[in-house]
Symmetry: C2
Subunit: 356 residues, 2 copies
């Protein structure tokens, strides 16, 4: 059986002041009236039934996510006591799935990306699942839209074939976030995809890789697996997670794993990593403005106002991003958005964590 | 005896979104930790004792103002059922004062202006009171700082003398808010002052002028005076005020009154009529920024942030005014502040009165 596992444990700060320690990106309504997490579940239907959809999140976020998706079985919300990166999160989901279905194939998906081509996305997922059945570790590669230095890149190797019209390549190499020159070369060469963080594999295959490449984590996972269904499960998980190191699946497994393939796809995937990338998903008016929430404007141009309930009035401004959250406000020149991180770092340093 | 009468009935919209129908300018903390109304009372001490200080305001604002100045006797807060402009407000205060003290001299003062030279202000007031004792209607003229088209102007006539080092001139003419050319000429000529809206006169003298020049209002005032201390006072006042026309004291009385004099003064008087004029009262940092409330800034210049409890973060912006109120936010180019009025007018037209 196929299962979807949505990783929803992050706590973004790049979308500050909207995303916060306690209000992760996936819990926000960034596009339309559904949260990013709700979109992530919505786009799986009708390929996956609710009981086939799992979520891995942090304990302190699970109630919020559950309430946003009441149709998901509560047993399918897997909580981590603390976030340890994608490798432990995926391992934890894998042992839960193996207990339910030793033949399980899992699609590892994200809740903090937006996908406009949902129909194509489901076709890709279905294809990747069938490829994974044969034991391949399948990665979904995104056709690079720009020489971004914010993503890892996947180099395509030998072409193994065409499945449902999707070409499948052996992965030659995973490249971590590159410098701009290297990114430009990779995009120009055409043989690279962005690493989307979406993977499909059989549960037994990924656990085999954990055993080989991350034996410490694997040992902890086996302790937790033994406690599944027992009353001391949470205590065992907590003890294990206190000892587990923070690792991404890319570093920890994928870079040296056997039989990794990539399916390059074009599904309207967006990282929504900052306010500019969110603005690209929304439709500007004839003056280049995007207004979310109640507003009045006079002579305002190329401005993105992400508001909420409060009225935002703008007069005579241009090329500005305004983000209005309940207890904090950002007014930022459009080209300076990457410096939002500097604000959150200052808040951390100065101890003003109520705004983090 | 001398009395101060503070007119505090306005409801500003030029300082939107902070000033509102229900939150008048005088009830706001614009400069420091005291509201404009509190400043207006504070600067009278020690010249006036609390029992010598009267306030005229709207019924729906009197509780708020009382709570801001609990040391004022509640009997000294005179409420109007509805605002009818300065002429009826001053007439109402005059009959209250005449009942208490037929010999009263009243200084009519404002709560929506800021005065930095408070010591000099009290010297002026004391002087004006002594001039008014002789029956003159004394106006305080402000030395024009610019050819403003936002104020009325007072033309000085014959110089009557020097009292406590202050020259006293007969008033030649009151001029309503002029066009820019006329304003420039008046400022250059040197013989004009801004009309500050501050007046000093004997109660019997101003009531005499009402009788002559505004006989309808005078008749209503006499009805109300007859009801002072009676249980039907409020009913009589309400009936009278429903019939009273809206008039300013300038149009209604001053322009044609007998024996009007002006004392030109230099007391650091500011109208605080818009965000730019408030900014001039506050001290900018080395980048020309003024921040009120919690903030973090990166590369921000010549920007005025009037915040409150919420954090305001600014990145890479300049020459902007940001005003953050509880339920509405203004982001405005500095040179476009006069267009704030257009926003409030749109709110009125569109029926969005919750933000007015």
């Amino acid at each position: 059986m196929y299962y979807a596992v949505i990783l929803a444990g992050g706590s973004g700060t790049r979308l500050w002041p909207l995303s916060r320690r306690s209000r992760s990106k996936q819990s926000l309504k960034l596009v339309g009236e559904r949260t990013m997490f709700q979109h992530a579940v919505d786009r799986l239907a009708p390929l996956f039934q609710p009981e086939q959809i799992y979520v891995v999140t942090r304990e302190d976020q699970s109630a919020l996510l559950s309430s946003q998706m009441p149709e998901l079985p509560s047993a399918n919300i897997i909580s981590e006591p603390v976030g340890r990166g994608t490798a432990p999160a995926i391992g934890l989901a894998a042992i839960h799935l193996r207990k339910r279905d030793p033949e399980a194939t899992m699609a590892v998906l994200t809740a903090d990306h937006y996908i406009t081509g949902t129909k194509q996305f489901r076709r890709v997922l279905e294809t990747a699942c069938s490829v994974a059945k044969d034991g391949h570790l399948v990665t979904l590669g995104i056709k690079p839209a720009s020489p971004s230095t914010g993503f890892g890149y996947i180099q395509q190797g030998e072409r193994l074939g065409l499945v449902n019209d999707f070409p499948v390549f052996r992965v030659e190499r995973f490249t971590e976030k590159p410098a701009l020159d290297a990114a430009r070369q990779m995009v120009t060469s055409g043989g690279y995809s962005w690493n989307s963080g979406m993977f499909v594999w059989r549960v037994d295959r990924i656990l085999e890789e954990f055993q080989k490449q991350m034996p410490d984590l694997y040992t902890r996972l086996m302790e937790v697996e033994a406690a599944l269904g027992r009353v001391d499960y949470r205590a065992v998980l907590l003890r294990a997670w206190n000892r587990v190191a923070e690792w991404t699946i890319d570093y920890g497994v994928m870079e040296r794993a056997a039989d990794v393939v990539v399916v390059p796809v074009d599904i309207g995937w967006t990282d929504v990593g900052n306010w500019a990338s969110l603005a690209e998903l929304l439709s500007p008016d004839q003056d280049g403005n995007i207004f979310v929430g109640p507003h009045h404007e006079i002579d305002t141009h190329n401005t993105f106002v992400f508001g909420g309930k409060r009225l935002v009035a703008t007069i005579g401004i241009q090329d500005i991003v305004i983000v209005d959250s309940e207890d904090a406000l950002l007014v930022c020149a459009k080209k300076r958005e990457q410096e939002v991180r500097e604000i959150t770092e200052r808040l951390k340093r100065s101890g003003n964590i109520q705004w983090l």
